[in-house]
Assembly symmetry: C2
Homo-oligomer: 306 residues x 2
Amino acid sequence: MSDVAKAAGVSAATVSRALRGEPGVSEATRQHVSEVARRMKYAIARDASSLAGGRRYAIAVLTSEVSPVLAGAEGALRQAGYDVLLYVLAEPGARAKFFDELPLGRRVDGVLLLSMSLSGAEQAALESLEVPHIAVDDTDLRRALRTAVAHLLELGHRDVALVLSDGVDESYDEILASAGLDVRPEWTVWCSPTVDGGEQVVDVLLDGERLPTAVISSNGAAALGIYLRVQRDGRAVPDEVSIVSLDGQELTRVVGLTAVEGAAKEQGERAVADLLTLIRGGQIEPVEHPLRLVVRNSSGPVRTAG
Amino acid sequence: MSDVAKAAGVSAATVSRALRGEPGVSEATRQHVSEVARRMKYAIARDASSLAGGRRYAIAVLTSEVSPVLAGAEGALRQAGYDVLLYVLAEPGARAKFFDELPLGRRVDGVLLLSMSLSGAEQAALESLEVPHIAVDDTDLRRALRTAVAHLLELGHRDVALVLSDGVDESYDEILASAGLDVRPEWTVWCSPTVDGGEQVVDVLLDGERLPTAVISSNGAAALGIYLRVQRDGRAVPDEVSIVSLDGQELTRVVGLTAVEGAAKEQGERAVADLLTLIRGGQIEPVEHPLRLVVRNSSGPVRTAG
DNA sequence: CTGTTAGCGCGTTCAA
DNA sequence: TTGAACGCGCTAACAG
């Protein structure tokens, strides 16, 4: 840095201020210093910078799975000039160890949590770091369902079945009802969030006397199972049955299922933006995560009877 | 550190040496210092350590996609006490920028590359960092193919078609031939590495007079496409046609395709072990990446004719 | 707006 | 085997 300072005819402190965008430097000086630094291929040494008490230029990213959201977040952080310290906290052991040891002291400017629901203790541990943090929630099932229902209504569907993953125990009847659909108990079914689960549930669903013209699945893998099974049964998708997934797994994309996607990339970017705002001491206002209906080949107009 | 030194009745230099396992400290002193440090929950500050010329306790992980290998590598590195600096270099722009700016100077102890085939220039840029690096190769198609062929032979198949992804231009005839299979030119076909590609190739393949009893696909998505199309054509899998993928994408697992998998986790762990050996100045000996045949529901005994 | 001074917390001499 | 002094590259607080 002193080399750059000498070359630019200023002091090291000025170089520091100029390169970090700190106030207190004339615009002319800043430009000049930046130019010289670039020519000399100089970049601030982060270690020394953080040692001296400045920022650390690093964000810890905690995630329970390596997912597209991670890719989105990484890109946004990198672009903002931050390093990404990755912690994959998939196994309970690793997760417990992390929150026990909290190896983040004085090493990051912020923490980003992806698809992690924290326990109270974990939350408290995180707070004790005294570092800004923010979490990216999972897709909001409720809103996703409304989106899917609207899509199907538009296509003329009135007989819509809802396949929920085991573990989802809220009632969504009111959403179906308020959309003007009949709520038929036998058209709300549960299955495991797997391809197998989806296949099995089809037997139940298409066994009644009245068949739904469309099926919404809360889980992507199950949606795929439904799709495969329905086709194997000799029913055309979407001509006889439309299928919509509320979960934008890669699976749904690859086989061409219509899905409500969590807009993973945007969610990650949004979260990064919020986190950076927090780091700068700003206030953030909660916003709903964007949802995106991606219409592919598994949903179409309802077939007019007769 | 000076606090610990005081508490232990030694100098800071001794604490440093003791905690880093440096020689030149009596075993008694080392034990004592370690004990005191633990009691005081003291850990060496990595920033200061690297500033002063010591280790950086960090590894840069470069990857072209967020994949299970990444998860495996992260775990292994974490366990070895290293931070993971993640760089997702999926987009050409990001990748070019990285190799242009090389933002790694003096910041990591090593570099781990996952599923990245480096160009000569990139290779050179990496070397210029003067930091140990190691790459996890993609699955070796050749060996994977041998594994798949052996599996099918065992099941009695003799009429095996090979679907290669566009871009794969090596000849694998000798592998098929040496396994005692007839090499029929019309049974080696190319398609794009997508579900669509797989679907399309089925038309070509099952249009001849003599049909293969098994299909090997080098790509997982294409394998899925083949699977879907064959079923839709009303042919049973695996009773009429067996399908084996040489690529263990999640896709193949979820829909139950037999696949030769790269044993991602083990590969990642192995690479980390090698990298750490390099960092310590050791020599590594090349080993073949482990391959694993995962038999699922898409491969079965050949149906005895008539 | 800019320069000067004094550390940040450690590793590495060198001497004892 | 240990300790004291020095400097790594930078930023914060002050002075101008």
